[in-house]
Structures are given as C-alpha cells and as structure tokens.
Point group: C2
DNA sequence: CTGTTAGCGCGTTCAC
DNA sequence: GTGAACGCGCTAACAG
C-alpha cells in the first residue's frame, strides 16, 4: 500500500505539499498539483482511513443500532436503514451497524470512538438504555419519542396529531361512531413509544368532536379479526368508522369485510396509520395517514449531522407532521 | 478522554505494560494487573479504535454491501444482514454497511482500509463488479454463485441439488407430470445467479427420472396465477405436481387453488424452494426445500474469518445442501 | 515479568 | 508556495 510519503518522493515534493494538495486547504501550483496527481494514479494511492481518523479525530462513520427482535417488522427496519444509508453516503459517511440488543457493544462503539455519532432505533417506553446513552460524549439521536428521553434528541412521526387527523377526517365524512382498532397493549413486554401517543390522539380528537371514544384491542390474526367484524360490526353495528393503528391487521380486515358483506366505505369507513405500501398492498386501497419511514430516517440523519457540525441548536425533538391520503375506504 | 499514557502514569507502570495487560499478549503479574485495572476504572479509559487500527493494521470491521433495489425482498436482505451481524459480533467484529449500488464507494471502503474484509450480497450473472472485487487485496466473499466468479469465494444455497431434490420427492410421491413454476426470465435486467441453477436442476432431475420437463413462467400477481391455475390445472390438467421456485407466488397460488377447487395434495402436489417462514405463512403450509438464509449468512462470515486468519484453504465456493420438509402440500 | 523505543500514516503548525 | 517537525494513541519489537 502506497503512503503519502511514497507519493511525495515519487512526485519530488514534500509530504505536506501532498497533504495540502489533497485537502485543498491551501493553494498549490498547477504544475506540482499535476505531478502529485500522476504519482497518486501511478502508485494507486488511497489515504488510510485509520490514520486519517487518528489525526483528525473523526471517523466518517455513524453508528446505527438496529433491533433484531422477531416482533418488529423487518420491512420497516430495512427501510429505516436504507434511507439512513443513502442519506449518509450523500454526506460522505458510512454506517456502522450494531445489534440494538447488544447495548454493551453499542456503548463500546461510541466509547472507543469507532463512530462519530449514533442513531438508535426502536425505542420503547422507559427504555433502560436511555440513561446510558444520555451520558455519552458524542451526539445521539433516538428514533422514537419516549416520554422520558433524558434530554436526548428524538425523531419520530407525530402519532398524536396523526391520530387526531384520522379521526377528524372520518368525522368530516359523516361518521359519528368512530372506533379505534389496535394491538393489545402488552403489559408485560416493553411497549413501543408510539402506542400511547396514537391512543391519546384518538381520545383527544373524539373528545374535541363530542363523540365517545372506544378503543378495541384485537390480536392481528385472521380469526380474531374475523370475529371482531362479525360481532361488533355485523351484529352489533357498533361502529360506522374505524381508525386502525395496526398494520398487520389491514389485510385480514379487508378479507373479513368482503367475506361478511360489510360495505366499505358505505357501511364503515376506514382510515389507517401506515406506510403507503402496506396501505395499497392488501385486498383494498386503504385511506391512510402516512407513516413516513424514509423521512424519519433522513431527518434523524440530518439532525445528527447538525449536532456534529456544532452545538448550535439546543437539544430538541422533531415530530413529523401527518398527512392524510383519501383512498378507497373513505367516502368523498 | 483518558489515554493509555494516563493509565500508565496513574498506575505507576510503563506504557507497554498497560498495552500488554489489555491485549493479554504477555503475562502480567496479578499485582500490577490489578493496579492497571483500577486506574482504567478510575479514569474511565477506553482504547481508541482508530489508533489501535493504525498500529495493528486491522479495524475489526467487516464490510457488507447490501442491495437497495426495490425488487429484492427486504425481508431476505434483513435476515442476511441480521445473521451476519450476530455472527460477527460473536467474533468481536462490527459491520460496516455500504450500498451495493454505490460500487465506487464499496471499493473505496476497501482501498482506504476502513474494513478488513468484505461480503457482497445479491450477485447477478455477469456481475460487472466481479473483476474489480477480484483485484482487491483484502478477502472478499460473494453471496451468490455466478458462473464466472473470477476466482472469488462464493457462498450460496445449492439450488441445483435443491431443485433435483424437490422433483425427486414429488416423483417418489407418485407424480409424473411435474411442472416447474417460476418468474419470467428477465432477459433485459441482470438475473440472479440462482435462476439458472434451479431450472437446470429441475431439468436434470426430470431427465434422470424419464419424465418431460416443463418450465412455466408466470408473473407473481394474483390474476396471472389465477389464470394459470384455471387454464393449465383445471382445464388442461396438464400437471399433477408443481415445483415452485417463486416465493411471492405461493400465497396467490394457494388462494387460487381454494377458489377453483383444485385439491392439494390430492390433485396436485406442490414443493417449493423457499424460506420456512414464507412456506408456512400463507393460506396453506407448503412442503418445501428450505432456503437457509441465516446459514448462508453465517457461512459467509465464517469463510471470511478463515481467509483473514491466513490463506490456509485455496479459494473455493460453498454450496449449502438442501433439505426437504414435507408439509400439507404433498402426500405421505 | 517490566521498560524503552521506534514506528503505523496522516494532519497541522511553524519557519523557509 | 514549499519543506521539516511534531503529535494523534496504540502496537510490538528489542532490551533488561
């Protein structure tokens, strides 16, 4: 491997001249610049990352803690990672992956200066990692919005506003018995930070509109959802609209509607919070409040880079605003 | 940030003693070992990764080139990454992610010594990156088995043997008109390295068994597969068994069978090549030849580490042997 | 068993 | 505009 010294010798100049020619931090005469470049090409020179990192105190690497638990949607994780990866390459950073479950390792990666900053995905309420992350000397951004973030920067979708928007849209389209469908709250396991927020937003919107909130928790399998449709929609006719915050339920719900003759949007309107692709991939095209995965990823990265540039802005959270997209499951 | 020099002073020993105490490359008396450890704790010392990398010529980082194209299954990619991540952590390596599409960057990461070795996923036939990868001075392992691998190490599932196994199992269970169902060969786009191999295995097995091979190419949407079932299975009764190498088709196929009254496994038996989770996630439980994603990932990592340890074994490929799991779509 | 010393390759002062 | 010198924090000979 050729070093800068080799280039200097080969080009007949001094070491620092090569350095300045490469960094551009000082004007270099076109002539020597030329000879240096040709030496670089000839010797196949590439700056050594670790030497550069040692001298400059920056690695051009960003850490990303990715969850590996079975119960988080691999597609969503992949889209987060992918958006962050693309954005970081644009800023000339590479990504260092660590398993979120291995928090010891996540810490080490920061402590040893393997990365310049860190993004942590899949935060949960009362996440035990928060104090430890807050104590780190380098920038950290959380994806998720825990109630107690320990002063850490957070980026997430604004689930509260999103839920309110969904309810208002259903209300504006004539529905008055608007239920919320969601997964059973896991009291034992840690709960994602968004679970509480969407419920709260739903309840607030109902209160604001003067209608009674009803949160229905149903497991995400076909049988449970079939039973829900039969009992609560067909027999009791309890709801004329559903706000669904439960992505895996959407497809089953659509089939249950079809099987049991529930007309949508005539009998029951539906608005979901979901990424666009799951809204349109099932048996029907679901009107939704968009969950902007890629935007969250890009925003998290942008925030991290701002923090790296300098402690300009005080620590804060960014919650992405909701947008509603009417599709086949709501009336005009 | 405390440095090793600080520790040495604090513990009243020499710099190298600290280094050796940490690396364990030299016996240290329990007494001084103790004082060093206490100094480390007291000063919150952590070795600096870049300095260590510069001096030791190894980064403890492995590169992984991940594809981001829409047409590769995010789940599969995620499972590859996840298995490699877990395995590398076990060997005390971290993973550096690069976008496979950005091959320029992939090269740079190797050339600048940001990683010790590289895994490249999602190889295609005549992959243009192969010559460039083969010229790299550090170990490279491909996931995939291109016809011309340029002497690079490859790891993949043995699709040829897998297809043969599938056909034999169907034949052993009484089927004689065994068709192969797969995605249309994209003549324009690059084709994954496994497409040809499973077709070849299917054809070879048929020949071996003295039956006529028929490869049917159907797009993976519900309509196309419905039409296929109606025309070729219900009307023509062309096949009494299908070997399916087309994961996204399985669920649609199951629903089409149900809708059109094709009895499985009575009328038509089915064996797929697929990961277990997709085999059992659809409307039926499909007998399958397992596509062992995690094993491929772990094997690729193991191979990389062997290459890093020393050029013991000559360059070679590893193809994982198929296993058949009977489920609901084959007879006893 | 422990100290001393010279690099690893690059960044950044200084004087020339 | 250019060259020499030192430091980043750690590793690994080479002594003792």
């Amino acid at each position: 491997m050729a070093t800068m010294t080799d280039i200097a010798r080969e080009a007949g100049v001094s070491l620092s001249t090569v350095s300045y020619a490469l960094s551009g931090k000082r004007p270099i005469s076109p002539a020597t610049r030329e000879r240096i470049q040709s030496a670089i090409d000839r010797l196949q020179y590439h700056p050594t990352a670790s030497a550069r990192a040692l001298a400059s105190q920056r690695t051009s690497l960003l850490g990303v803690a990715v969850p590996q638990r079975e119960d988080v949607d691999a597609h969503v994780i992949m889209e987060f990672v992918s958006s962050i990866l693309t954005a970081s390459h644009e800023q000339d950073y590479d990504l260092l992956l660590v398993a979120a479950e291995d928090h010891e390792r996540t810490r080490r990666v920061m402590d040893e200066g393997k990365v310049d900053a860190l993004i942590v995905m899949d935060l949960v309420e009362d996440d035990p990692r928060i104090p430890s992350l807050a104590a780190l000397p380098r920038p950290v951004v959380l994806i998720g919005y825990p109630q107690e973030s320990g002063g850490l920067a957070c980026v997430d979708f604004d689930f509260l506003s999103g839920a309110m928007l969904a309810v208002r849209e259903l209300h504006a389209r004539g529905s008055r018995r608007i239920g919320m469908l969601t997964s059973p709250a896991a009291t034992h396991r840690p709960s994602p930070t968004y679970a509480r927020r969407s419920r709260l937003g739903y309840t607030m919107a109902c209160t604001e509109l003067g209608i009674a909130p009803t949160i229905v928790e149903v497991p995400s399998d076909a049988e449970s959802l079939g039973a829900f449709v039969r009992e609560q929609l067909v027999q009791e006719q309890r709801f004329d609209a559903l706000f669904v915050h439960q992505e895996p339920a959407l497809a089953h719900l659509g089939r249950a509607f079809a099987a049991q003759g529930v007309a949508c949007p005539e009998d029951v309107q539906i608005v979901a919070i979901s990424p666009e692709d799951v809204a349109v991939s099932g048996p029907w095209d679901v009107s939704n409040v968009e969950l902007p995965i890629s935007s969250i990823g890009r925003t998290a990265l942008a925030m991290l880079l701002e923090m790296l540039s300098g402690p300009a802005a005080p620590p804060h959270s960014r919650l992405l605003s909701p947008t509603f997209t009417p599709r086949g499951t709501t009336r005009a």
